[in-house]
Symmetry: D2
Subunit: 342 residues, 4 copies
Amino acid sequence: MVKVGIVGGTGYTGVELLRLLAQHPEVQLQAITSRKEAGMPVSDMFPSLRGRVGLKFVEPGDAGLSSCDVVFFATPNGIAMQETRALLEAGVRVIDLAADFRIKDAALWEKWYGMQHACPDLIAEAVYGLPEINREKIKGARLIANPGCYPTAAQLGFLPLIETGLADVTHLVADCKSGVSGAGRKAEVGALFSEAADNFKAYAVPGHRHLPEIRQGLELVAGKAVNLTFVPHLTPLIRGIHATLYVRLTGAVDLQAIYEKRYANEYFVDVLPQGAHPETRSVRGSNLCRIAVHRPQGGDIAVVLSVIDNLTKGAAGQAVQNMNIMFGFTESMGLQQIPLLP
Amino acid sequence: MVKVGIVGGTGYTGVELLRLLAQHPEVQLQAITSRKEAGMPVSDMFPSLRGRVGLKFVEPGDAGLSSCDVVFFATPNGIAMQETRALLEAGVRVIDLAADFRIKDAALWEKWYGMQHACPDLIAEAVYGLPEINREKIKGARLIANPGCYPTAAQLGFLPLIETGLADVTHLVADCKSGVSGAGRKAEVGALFSEAADNFKAYAVPGHRHLPEIRQGLELVAGKAVNLTFVPHLTPLIRGIHATLYVRLTGAVDLQAIYEKRYANEYFVDVLPQGAHPETRSVRGSNLCRIAVHRPQGGDIAVVLSVIDNLTKGAAGQAVQNMNIMFGFTESMGLQQIPLLP
Amino acid sequence: MVKVGIVGGTGYTGVELLRLLAQHPEVQLQAITSRKEAGMPVSDMFPSLRGRVGLKFVEPGDAGLSSCDVVFFATPNGIAMQETRALLEAGVRVIDLAADFRIKDAALWEKWYGMQHACPDLIAEAVYGLPEINREKIKGARLIANPGCYPTAAQLGFLPLIETGLADVTHLVADCKSGVSGAGRKAEVGALFSEAADNFKAYAVPGHRHLPEIRQGLELVAGKAVNLTFVPHLTPLIRGIHATLYVRLTGAVDLQAIYEKRYANEYFVDVLPQGAHPETRSVRGSNLCRIAVHRPQGGDIAVVLSVIDNLTKGAAGQAVQNMNIMFGFTESMGLQQIPLLP
Amino acid sequence: MVKVGIVGGTGYTGVELLRLLAQHPEVQLQAITSRKEAGMPVSDMFPSLRGRVGLKFVEPGDAGLSSCDVVFFATPNGIAMQETRALLEAGVRVIDLAADFRIKDAALWEKWYGMQHACPDLIAEAVYGLPEINREKIKGARLIANPGCYPTAAQLGFLPLIETGLADVTHLVADCKSGVSGAGRKAEVGALFSEAADNFKAYAVPGHRHLPEIRQGLELVAGKAVNLTFVPHLTPLIRGIHATLYVRLTGAVDLQAIYEKRYANEYFVDVLPQGAHPETRSVRGSNLCRIAVHRPQGGDIAVVLSVIDNLTKGAAGQAVQNMNIMFGFTESMGLQQIPLLP
């Protein structure tokens, strides 16, 4: 059994981590921290967990995190980087669900996140936790930068075409749509039901923090600079991301075969049959990414459709997948929930 | 391993049965029938099941149902009664998720369902599959009438007050609200997104088929006639039933204690702490019923709030619970999914 | 032309007032105040008003309210009572959309609203602005207490049976469901999309502030104490209230005729044909209340279904209706929008 | 007063036409036809119209259409082309909300719509009813091909860049999202609430009928072939289309100025300030198109965001706008509804 601590469990990635870890056969939930809610039973805040999670929120200082085997940070950006060094030095592995260790260029991170980085040296050590790219590195990692939700859906969709050199990387478009849970469990007017329901809009078109993360991932694979236009949208669902990717092809190609081959051995990536259109609910509550690829009207543009549950494969599920790899468990352990449909 | 057949698996109770049974450690899915879709892989219709259910829909005649240990009917009303006798005679147990065997008075059934009953003698044998009332009878049953969704939520809410004789049964009110999946996966204008979203309405106020079913259940417990007003409403959620029950109390009573005692040993009934308000999402995708009980302004009216997922505890989950009891499995086997929140 | 000021226009009743008043042929919008947003063009906050409302929010002190003919308060409870006396003394009429002047018994108000009332003497003068009851008093009023949303739907539904003495007022039940806009445009976790969507729950069952308001209205008509159980619920729509009312009848009665007669001359109350079920979207964006009345199974319980748009007939629309009456305009002036369906 | 007939009024464009025409000061509604519902009062099907539309559906033969001044076809594709010639010969003007006359190349139309065209000669006469392009031709037209919903949003967004020659037309991308009412009021499983709610998906990626319509419009303006990738998506809203358009710029350009200048005199096109993101609800129930234009990260890709209400500017509202132009009324007459927000 692995002893697990969670820092900052009052948000949506926190409750999703709890849902998954409470069902994981090799996990012993040790502590979950919240300064604000210390003393409150977790199941008072999240009644879905009644009878399944007996913990109360505790002050970080009382959580005994240094005696855990692994600590998940489900905190706002900028928290994990303050506390990671001490945990690592105590022999605790760390999985950060926030963005603190995702961008390798500290200066670039500081520009996009608007704060100084507390431990640039640890960025170098951190492994970007996208198992479909970095599985081997994850196995031995002490510190995982768990990918963002948009970056997971977009990279898994783009990768096969970039790895094979078939994409014109000077003109990539990622038109992405997210459910509202991506905005977190924060009291903000824009995420109110009466604002977000029966409504659709783009946001952050001039620049979204996931742009440098996706670009970094694609450039590592491409081996050169890529030109990516990334437009996120808010759509009235709770969970789900749909990435629609537009790639100009540089040559003749059997798209379907390339995708099927690339992901043939991936438990959590499902390439749909030719002509299909994945829908977000087909992965709701699961750690799956489903992908379909099209070439409309026989033209030179490939359209890749990639869907995930932003809270699962886009956050907590992928974090558990990383934990499984780090600790030598079967990669799908505790992550075999069948999507909830309808 | 129990060999399981499903008759009529193209609706929402069908896909929910498949989701649950595919994860059940003691179940071997043998066949699922659909005249209309015979030959189609189940996962083509329900992509959530890709990689998890390999079956194709088959013609009923090709399903080998008589070699199953148990057959679930997830069919429209009036089908199961045609086929049950032959299955029972072949030694197959039957769980009917439709209404064919729910009403003990065949004439009453025929009045409400508008057709002649094909086997009134089997009605007598059938056990009403509400485990919290009929657990012992279910153990030995060959034929289970799986309760309706509204009747499950309403009866579990009313029972403690009626069993203890504290309810004035001459004036019971059940104001119930259902998600749209309760209308089934049928192409009908009234269940279209553009009709049902951002909208709320009552329906069938003059009389709904679940009225006689709830009344029968309450009268069996009360030992006398009850006067029940039942009003169902359609609310824009996918899954979930919320029953708000109004009961005039006949004497002084510690409501909270009565409910907690009644359900102390029930795995799937969760009595919330005093003052709580259960929400439908707290049971989404799970077999739980959560109940809270109030006495507003210290008056003589008890208000009972009871929530279930209409497709799980209100249909497929309860059917699997019944199967577990019938075959001597742990009652919660395969039914321990943590509700999906948010 | 009537010169109109609005105090506190950044909430949903504010933007609804603006929508209606901007289209009203006899209204000149003079000023709209917001301490927090002073200087911001109204249409920056509410892009639906671009090109239609040219005002900026102003500080209350700069609004010239005392030169208006009428001032609407679309403020939280407790604001209007601070400012009304000065306006009345300046000859300005006041319509308060909050609750400050709704409850005639100041001590009762203070108990439910948790603050001391600033001007109990003005409560006596204030006219409760439900035109279907108080039209004559509204004509000459200086100060209108605009009714709450639940109280409007519930009272219009109950009234015909109470006025005719046919209701057993010792046991009234009002089971009411509101869209989320009723919670206002406030940043609160409970009203987030990811909390309120695909979810249904009761709230405030022990006691909601609209209980004494409804009871007061019914008792005035009944001429005696009434016993009312009122349970509000939150349902995932933006706009709309559905009141389901249960009334024990004290005698034989032609329900349909009573309701049709009572509201025969009311422009904004529409009694549906026998057997109908009103839906909230049938009044979306309009000032209408639609009502149907049933007597299920020929029993002694009348079930009344009453729907309004909580922001229109339940707030801003009724306020404009009151203004029309006060200033001698046609009662429906500026309020003839056809509901938006679908 | 203009005498108006509607053919096929039982769908969503039908009820939207009725909502708009019933409030139009120069319209006299003469007849609305439906073979299937002949005899039913319109307001029985659409209770939002109670008290406002007194007509019953009539058989086409009983509608007296040839004595109307103008007839709107709110029918499935392929109906209007059967009946238009007779109406034109009777001196009646025709506005077809379906696709029968939108594509100038009859062979192309037949390929995409899968039927033979009944009157190719009338295609030549028909004027494509996008007023922002064709206002002068509309004035004198007998026959209007009212544009599709996606084509309206997409063309209005693309036009300024194509007219000015600043777009690289060899690589245009239109990623479009539609509310579910775009699927019509037809009983189809895919449009059920329980299928479409809390879900997002692309559809018809290999080829959608609006592709040739958009392309035709753009090529007319560009004066050459354009290469357009068009991907439609279904998003869980009732009304609304959001087009996200990606255009490679061929030179330096003040995007904001170009768009503001192009639409400076258009009543129904609103160019938002620099940096804005239009949301679909900001046009809900109105005939407006709101547009914002971005150049993310100072690159060579312009991102244009264009929103309309698919039933209003995308269908019935634009049809009424065309009628206003044809009959010399003020273009905005009867179309000044302020969008319903929230």
